[in-house]
């Protein structure tokens, strides 16, 4: 074990871990809210995230041109990329709800059936992106869109577009991108948390999560409420995708798989169905795997993350905060 390296770089390792964790937490919101309302694990949520990364990438590609961009122009491009990412992810999430879930929920299908439907939808969405060269080929668009569709199964990158400097905080060099990711993610989490706690729609979501039948007696439309949770989850996955691209700069059709599993683990770790649990679980997972990677080698990072999950669940089977969305401190 490399204790020297670990202790010498502890602050940076922690901040980078928190940045990863913040991204997990934003994705975890989607899992946890849908679970809270439907008791259903939306396994296709990873693809909601993945489409967001491509929306970010393509917006940046399309707008920066060959010469690159800088200053206010770059800020404008990035803001637009964020909006595109959120819209794309939200759209995919709503589409999923409409096509893969609503028909099953209407027929009162068992949750297991919906789970299979989710896994199927996940593969379809991922492979559609992985075969985008063929799909555009059917319409004769593959030449026009060559830059966007060629190499459909390999990494696509926007590296070099955004170069953020390091800053010194108390003499420790910190990446500004990490601070931006952590700050933005925390801000979004607070917004969602307050929305669910204070707004009328949020109250409807909590009521439906706690007791769908009684919520319906109050005049809550369950279909609209479910749509709303998918929408919020999608928007947050879009933010996560944008921040991920700022930090990692590279995406691929199957990027959602590992990120999705990690975010799901974060949701379970914090207590699935619990918004603040998702944040706590995400940050904890991010920091733990980054520390573990530094201590015993990068190739062990996923092992560390999931060993942590198993150990915590052994002692706290309902997760760290273990409450449902319906409860007061959701």
């Amino acid at each position: 074990m490399d204790f020297d390296f670990f202790f010498n770089n502890l602050p940076q390792l922690t901040i980078t871990g928190l940045a990863f964790g913040a991204i997990y937490a934003l994705i975890a919101l989607g899992y946890t809210m849908v679970y809270g309302v439907l008791q259903l694990i939306n396994f296709a949520h990873s693809e909601v995230f993945m489409y967001g990364t491509f929306a970010t990438l393509w917006t940046v590609w399309a707008l920066t041109g060959s010469g690159g961009a800088s200053g206010m122009q770059l800020v404008g491009i990035l803001l637009l990329a964020l909006v595109m990412s959120m819209l794309t992810s939200a759209l995919v999430a709503l589409l999923l709800e409409r096509v893969a879930y609503r028909p099953l929920i209407k027929r009162n299908a068992p949750r297991l059936i919906a789970l299979i439907s989710a896994i199927g939808a996940s593969f379809v969405l991922a492979e559609l992106m992985g075969l985008r060269d063929r799909v555009t080929g059917w319409f004769g668009l593959d030449d026009t869109l060559d830059r966007y569709v060629s190499g459909a199964r390999i990494n696509a990158s926007m590296s070099g577009v955004v170069n953020m400097p390091n800053v010194d905080i108390f003499g420790i060099p910190v990446k500004t991108v990490d601070l931006l990711v952590i700050g933005a993610a925390l801000l979004m989490m607070v917004v969602v948390d307050q929305f669910v706690r204070r707004s009328k729609l949020g109250r409807g979501i909590r009521a439906t999560a706690q007791d769908q039948e009684t919520a319906a007696l109050m005049g809550v439309n369950p279909t609209r409420t479910i749509q709303m949770t998918f929408l919020i989850g999608g928007l947050m996955a879009g933010v996560a995708a944008f921040l991920y691209m700022l930090k990692i700069e590279v995406t691929k059709f199957d990027v959602g798989f590992l990120l999705g599993v990690k975010a799901f683990a974060a949701a379970v770790l914090g207590g699935i169905g619990n918004l603040r649990g998702a944040l706590l679980g995400g940050l904890l997972l991010g920091v733990a795997e980054n520390w573990g990677a530094a201590l015993i080698g990068t190739e062990w990072r996923h092992v560390v993350a999931f060993v942590l999950l198993v150990v915590i669940l052994l002692f706290r089977p309902t997760g760290l905060l273990g409450e449902s969305l319906g409860k007061a401190r959701a």
């Binding site: 009328k200 005049g219 449902s324």
Partner: protein, 239 residues
């Protein structure tokens, strides 16, 4: 006629929960359905509020056919329910529960809303004392008051009360029934489902007796309360 139920049949799978039930709820009345456990009272209530699908028959509200309307549309029309077992949102505060009752209304900032809130809190002073307390920490009686108050916040024309006296001490039961009377006097029509037949018949203008999914007797509340066979079967013989 405010509510008309005509030839209603509802199944759970292959089991007939209610069979060919017909009755009316006149505007301004207190109408009660009494009967033993499993007679189909709660199923009837859930069907009126739209939670159960109808196999045959019709439900009309102010002459309008609502047999297949969604529950939330019925709340908007003016039917709200205090369900069996209270079903308060235990993770929410008393105030949030009352706000949930008014979910279909869009006038939260208005004076009418505040007046309705004040009216509910005047009916149930205990709720006023505990307005910011989590509903889950309250006693059964307080939760029952909250469930009724919550239903009133929708400003219903017709309020459905399913077993409001269940599991409550005799003193509280008397209090709940006097509040039901007060609600009715303030202009809300009441449909009451009860196992406590003695109290229900005393409070009701019209009563219907359910047995294994069918209405077996109907009449004025006072008339049924004085009937010997009803006394023997439902009132324990000593009213």
């Amino acid at each position: 006629m405010l509510l008309e139920v005509e030839g209603l049949c509802v199944n759970y799978g292959h089991i007939e929960a209610i069979r060919d039930i017909s009755f009316d709820v006149p505007e301004g009345s207190v109408t009660t359905l009494i009967g033993a456990n499993g007679a189909g009272k709660t199923t009837t209530m859930k069907t009126i509020s739209g939670l159960r699908k109808v196999r045959a028959g019709a439900v009309r509200f102010e002459g309008k056919d609502i047999t297949n309307a969604a529950p939330y549309d019925r709340v908007k029309l003016g039917i709200s329910q205090s369900p069996e077992g209270r079903r308060c949102f235990v993770g929410m505060t008393v105030r949030e529960n009352l706000d949930m009752g008014a979910f279909v209304r869009n006038d939260r900032k208005s004076k009418a809303y505040k007046d309705d809130m004040d009216r509910v809190l005047a009916l149930f002073p205990r709720l006023a004392e505990r307005i910011n307390q989590s509903a889950g920490t309250m006693s059964g009686g307080e939760q029952q008051m909250l469930a009724i108050g919550r239903a009133l916040m929708a400003r219903p024309r017709l309020i459905l009360l399913d077993e409001p006296s269940m599991g409550l001490a005799p003193k509280l039961i008397a209090q709940i029934f006097s509040i039901i009377k007060e609600i009715n006097e303030q202009g809300t029509t009441v449909l009451l489902v009860e196992q406590n037949a003695a109290q229900a018949l005393k409070a009701a203008d019209n009563a219907h007796i359910l047995e294994t999914g069918e209405i077996v007797r109907s009449g004025r509340g006072s008339e049924l309360a004085g009937d010997d066979s009803v006394k023997a079967a439902y009132l324990g013989g000593d009213v």
